[in-house]
Symmetry: D2
Subunit: 471 residues, 4 copies
Amino acid sequence: MQDASKLTYLGLHNLQHRGQEGAGIVSSDGEKLYQHRDRGLLSDAFKDPADLDRLIGDCAIGHVRYSTTGRNSIQNVQPFLYHFLDGDVALAHNGNLVNAVSLRNKLEKQGAIFQSDSDTEILIHLIRNHISDGFIPALKKSLNEIHGGFAFLLLQKDRMIAALDPNGIRPLCIGKYDNGAYVVASETCALDIVGAEFVRDVQPGELIIIDKDGLHIDHFTEHTQLAVCSMEYIYFARPDSIIHGVNVHNARKNMGRLLARQNPVEADMVIGVPNSSLSAASGYAEELGLPYEMGLVKNQYVARTFIQPTQALREKSVRLKLSAVRGVVAGKKIAVIDDSIVRGTTSKQIVQMLKDAGAKEVHLRIASPQFRFPCFYGIDISTRSELMAAHYSTEEMRKIIGADSLDFLSVDNLIKAVSIPDAKGAPFGGLTVAYFNGQYPTKLDDYEEGYLSSLNEQEKRQRKERQNESL
Amino acid sequence: MQDASKLTYLGLHNLQHRGQEGAGIVSSDGEKLYQHRDRGLLSDAFKDPADLDRLIGDCAIGHVRYSTTGRNSIQNVQPFLYHFLDGDVALAHNGNLVNAVSLRNKLEKQGAIFQSDSDTEILIHLIRNHISDGFIPALKKSLNEIHGGFAFLLLQKDRMIAALDPNGIRPLCIGKYDNGAYVVASETCALDIVGAEFVRDVQPGELIIIDKDGLHIDHFTEHTQLAVCSMEYIYFARPDSIIHGVNVHNARKNMGRLLARQNPVEADMVIGVPNSSLSAASGYAEELGLPYEMGLVKNQYVARTFIQPTQALREKSVRLKLSAVRGVVAGKKIAVIDDSIVRGTTSKQIVQMLKDAGAKEVHLRIASPQFRFPCFYGIDISTRSELMAAHYSTEEMRKIIGADSLDFLSVDNLIKAVSIPDAKGAPFGGLTVAYFNGQYPTKLDDYEEGYLSSLNEQEKRQRKERQNESL
Amino acid sequence: MQDASKLTYLGLHNLQHRGQEGAGIVSSDGEKLYQHRDRGLLSDAFKDPADLDRLIGDCAIGHVRYSTTGRNSIQNVQPFLYHFLDGDVALAHNGNLVNAVSLRNKLEKQGAIFQSDSDTEILIHLIRNHISDGFIPALKKSLNEIHGGFAFLLLQKDRMIAALDPNGIRPLCIGKYDNGAYVVASETCALDIVGAEFVRDVQPGELIIIDKDGLHIDHFTEHTQLAVCSMEYIYFARPDSIIHGVNVHNARKNMGRLLARQNPVEADMVIGVPNSSLSAASGYAEELGLPYEMGLVKNQYVARTFIQPTQALREKSVRLKLSAVRGVVAGKKIAVIDDSIVRGTTSKQIVQMLKDAGAKEVHLRIASPQFRFPCFYGIDISTRSELMAAHYSTEEMRKIIGADSLDFLSVDNLIKAVSIPDAKGAPFGGLTVAYFNGQYPTKLDDYEEGYLSSLNEQEKRQRKERQNESL
Amino acid sequence: MQDASKLTYLGLHNLQHRGQEGAGIVSSDGEKLYQHRDRGLLSDAFKDPADLDRLIGDCAIGHVRYSTTGRNSIQNVQPFLYHFLDGDVALAHNGNLVNAVSLRNKLEKQGAIFQSDSDTEILIHLIRNHISDGFIPALKKSLNEIHGGFAFLLLQKDRMIAALDPNGIRPLCIGKYDNGAYVVASETCALDIVGAEFVRDVQPGELIIIDKDGLHIDHFTEHTQLAVCSMEYIYFARPDSIIHGVNVHNARKNMGRLLARQNPVEADMVIGVPNSSLSAASGYAEELGLPYEMGLVKNQYVARTFIQPTQALREKSVRLKLSAVRGVVAGKKIAVIDDSIVRGTTSKQIVQMLKDAGAKEVHLRIASPQFRFPCFYGIDISTRSELMAAHYSTEEMRKIIGADSLDFLSVDNLIKAVSIPDAKGAPFGGLTVAYFNGQYPTKLDDYEEGYLSSLNEQEKRQRKERQNESL
């Protein structure tokens, strides 16, 4: 499609929330591939109109970097572009592989040289190992060798290829223009801004090939089982996106409603932590018939981090991002809805800030369950030691945070709130809820050992039982 | 106070919404004044920690530039710093003077040379003309020679001075630290982030002097009459700020409530245009008992403007900033609350975007009256030709915008919604509502002629009658 | 002339040696004036082609900044551009005024406000004070009120004006195109690069006006006496420039020849300190029939100053700029020709570097007299305390520097070497040699007091006698 | 050695003339390797002191990029740094491989993935292919598989390795500090600035290993034959460098002297084209007893290339770099010495510029032979089509260039002028003079076919005969 790289820029603009550390686009004019990438936000990486103008051609893929592994070097900014004698290949990846380290070790022993720290690069090495089979067969073989959560976009001079892991952990959707051109994106909000119509979600294990003859659906495996990352619904995706038939804002509002039924509170008002918790907060308020107020304001501008004048302010660093609305909360009993608690430090600062602004009582309600197990599929929490709920009971957490009460949404209610239509019969409603119950949809491979050693006795016993069941 | 320039930076961070075209700080160490300023956002203007580190001393003033007059040149970025034989003076200004052009002409004829296009520079020339009287008397004389809406901050090596116009059109408040140090800022949200306690609003016609002996309150005129710019409450100020005793979020929520009583609508849900209309929208929803939903999402990232791939998308440029939430609005009757209509182009795009996303009906409710007369006091609308409501009836506007219905808050309800406590007895409740009814609290001076010529016969007659009344 | 701003850029490129701290151009399209300026080299200040493209019109003036007074702020980068009701004026200045401080004080007392630290700005204030007389009469009056060395270029929308001080201390020349367009520049090398033909030097006290009717010669004073700054010939100007009929390279070669006759040396070879001393060195070698060798090499690239790894290397900082050619100097008796000695630190390092490279003897010959008195006319040496020759005898200097012998060109030989054709009868051959003998061609005004206090008893007595003579 | 990266920066500063397109340094602290690299000059690539400060450790290698192959992408800026499970390796390369394309093809077929366009990267792939033998044996094998001119520096966490091709085509030398630390650099001028003492040149086929036990000399081949690139002496190296015992300035001066004997001219003066031809010019002048003058001046500042105001000036683009000294050359017969003629366009512009400045006659003497065959070893002339002397006779060249006479140094005199002491008995005195006679010291491999097809019948016959001889 004409202006492919500019449309890709627009799509990335609406996907910027998925990664802020780097951005890049590779385009194809049918003969050659053209690349531009740099560190920082999309608007930093593409400062000069000429950067886009050079990306000619009517096909393009783009990427915004959110680092789970690898240094913040330009080397790691995607899409990666590789020049081969038999043609160029560009590669963009969302997700995280659990067997990256062992695959990389094996490849390196065979003479492979890696240019990035990223697990993404492994795929191209695997493909080259199998290339004598032809590109698509080599790609399929390779996709079966990698484990974890992954959505890949590949660009060759004459086609674009998309592939999704066997559990569909990361979202990926297909859009279409009136003129027959196709778009593939992580979230539907990217289709909206480029003016494409939503066609369908990419399904687990699918290989989508788009070329001059249109869109072809293929598979690299038949052993699939939908298990979308629940974090997408809880806080990662944009509220206007629709993932597997469920609008994210609606899912969050449902989480708020169910939380209200599960753990109501007698308060003068309900407030949400902007921006990701506002949907849940309005659901909570509506369910209980309480006023929904703006008790916290988010500063939409980013402050440079070198501004830390006094120790006192350093401890209140959340104030650079959030402010309490004194005129709203003073003298009131407040129900504060937040989407999740990871380390607990922000929650503590928010409670303190509200009390400083005169709130009489602060009741904290979390619109997701206790985050007790790490995510190995692309959300940047990969060690248990950072997870507050892995180490403290809810009452202990309440005390540390300083709230007058604290409650979490149950796993069952989370699943109920999302209700993915095509996940009927799937365990946990087609969701990955491993972060709350430890039941991962894939093997853990390289992470297995570290993970096991982080479990306490009871957790180890439970895990063993589950594994026996699943045999 | 220690770290004065860093605290000033923090304060500016929370005032960034008031101006994004430039930022600067001038500090004093008791002997000399130090300046840093540059174009762009605060984080662009202060890229290097050293920029702040050089601003030593325990007193500082800062400014974020919002241009009403003057080119976007570094020359125009404030605070201005002037070196004189009898000491340095720095100057920052919020507002707009209505007799700037005639004063500048007069001064230039006397040999004055201006370095900026800004009306702010006039004050220092006036002061220097009267300097033989001493600085404070010269300043007072000068403040009586300028007309319009203005809040000035001046810094000398050993004191800081604040001055507010006789109508208090622009907000200005005083805060205090436990250690006795004082802070002056446009909005209370700046006091909150620096950890200072609110003391009081600066009153119309006051001259506040802060030096080593503390805070002194003086006046440059006794002919004062409170007339705060109503735009501050409607959309300019931050929702967490409190201006003359009224919290901005609460004022907006009241506007929404009163609008609901005045112009209810039968809708499936109420949505607000983020971010400034969310308070009003929640008030509107609450009053009618309708669900308050997130039907529009704001992209928190800024897109480079050179991305305009196709004519079709150019016409939908609002999509770079806003997205409709298809999963929420599809098939529904929507009440959309917006804070104001200026040119009407954005409103039209929003309605179109909601209909594209499947909304069945879109009823537009504006939480302020028809904007029919220009602002001459510092909000960037100074010609009538741009104001949709100056040229069309409400029904004509509805048709152009494409809404299913359209209504505006009445002036009386606006005044009622704000209810400034210390404005009892003041015309229009202590507010400037000239933008809606043409009754300006000051002479128009240089703007008078152009303004008159823009009026139609009826408006001219009404104006004449009002002037007779006020004699 | 078409492409006026681009030609100005080219001219500045060849004048870059005259100032590296900032660069700017102002152009006129006959209606308005357009400005671009920034700190750093020309290529830093004009990074973007668009910077030049915006400077439309067929008339332009430019400037490269060499700071003698004022901070390194963009505020001080010329040409200055002033907007007045009666038209814009741009201003560029080469030189230094000796009564700048007293004039500024006087003007400020009258209410003038200065935007820069530069003495240049004084002229525009003086002009505005007299503006009721008309622009040219006001300019003439103003030029008579300032003292020192100055060459001014002014641009108005419809004409360009050049003015030179009554002693012609700074060089200024006129060139012409075949199509009748004129060019004014500090040095003829700027005419060469833009393809203009040399017409004549601007004479002391002249006012040159160039407008659509061509070039007009006027005067602001008849009390003139040529006294070109001898530093221009010694090291400041480019060797390809011709000033008052004398080619700079030839003048330097003559200095070398006369120095050879005055102070010959028995050496194996002659080497010059690149680049400014190469002409004198070749003259010295030729006169004595000695081989002229490349014993020192200049690094044409600039090193960042933060590279100072060890104390040992810091003391040899000249090595970042110069290298001794070991293969040339090892085991040899060397005559090194340098153009001048200011502080003596570089000379000491050069001698050391040559000895480190194996030179057997190093005889230093300076192709100018002892620099004992400051320059108040625009070369950046304005205090005596920095001048080695003001404090030490030649033998003391030799010891400190570590040379095997040291000699300086005599003032008489300097004058003889230059021999300005149209300076017949002028004291010192039309040259300012005050730096060597203390006899300044102008009053010293603001510098008088400080200068006198720096003299020793003998110097004071001599000065008194000279002043009596000149009465 | 302490401050290793800062000393490396200094060394690169003195080697900047060898490459201006990129610069980088990799350091080792004994555990890890640290890299910084960027495009542009050294001072562009290292803008921030922190860039160097992060390169900790007491061992470092650096590189300045001069592109013969590959795009101007950061990907191509060296040293390259590779992370392997068995340790990091950094790699810097000076030269060009003649079998790069065929090796790359072969490697790629084996699954290798290249990150740069550079032939340098091939070495690391070869090493990894042989790595099971151990690093040094793998390196030796790899060095025997590559052909061409190459000098490699490798850095591992605990040692630095240098290797030079079997003909020693590119220069490489070893220096030493008093404290026992070693330095390896392309030219001795880099040793001078870092304060290290010259030890010896690296010999053809040597492998130098420097670790905590000192310096070890090894070989990767015994089939060596010295054939230094003669271009290093003619114009590439710095005049203060000493290569295989011959000072570059002295060699150039000898070229001038021998050229004077071979082709004297009756002229008023001799001038050189700055800077690389000044040594030869002074030799030429001395030999003939003619005055050596500065008839051309080089602008030491770089102009932005977007300044091309008129067609007339575009044709005189050399004026941005060079100016004729009118006061010197007007009315004179000039002998101009230049180091070489490649395309002839610059020579033509120089002659024209001198004539425009009034020169009566311009006699061009080239201090090297006719450049008729391409360089495949790292000087950026790899196609014959660009070489003026490959297509025209000397008289034809003279006419095109517009000189009054034209002569070139003979190959024999070139060899005589250089006279490498340890090249006794080597063909062509230890020099590669293939650019003048087509007799390359190595096989041409990938270039063979293209090269042959560029030869005319006579050249082909000669080549065949030479090959028969050499069998």
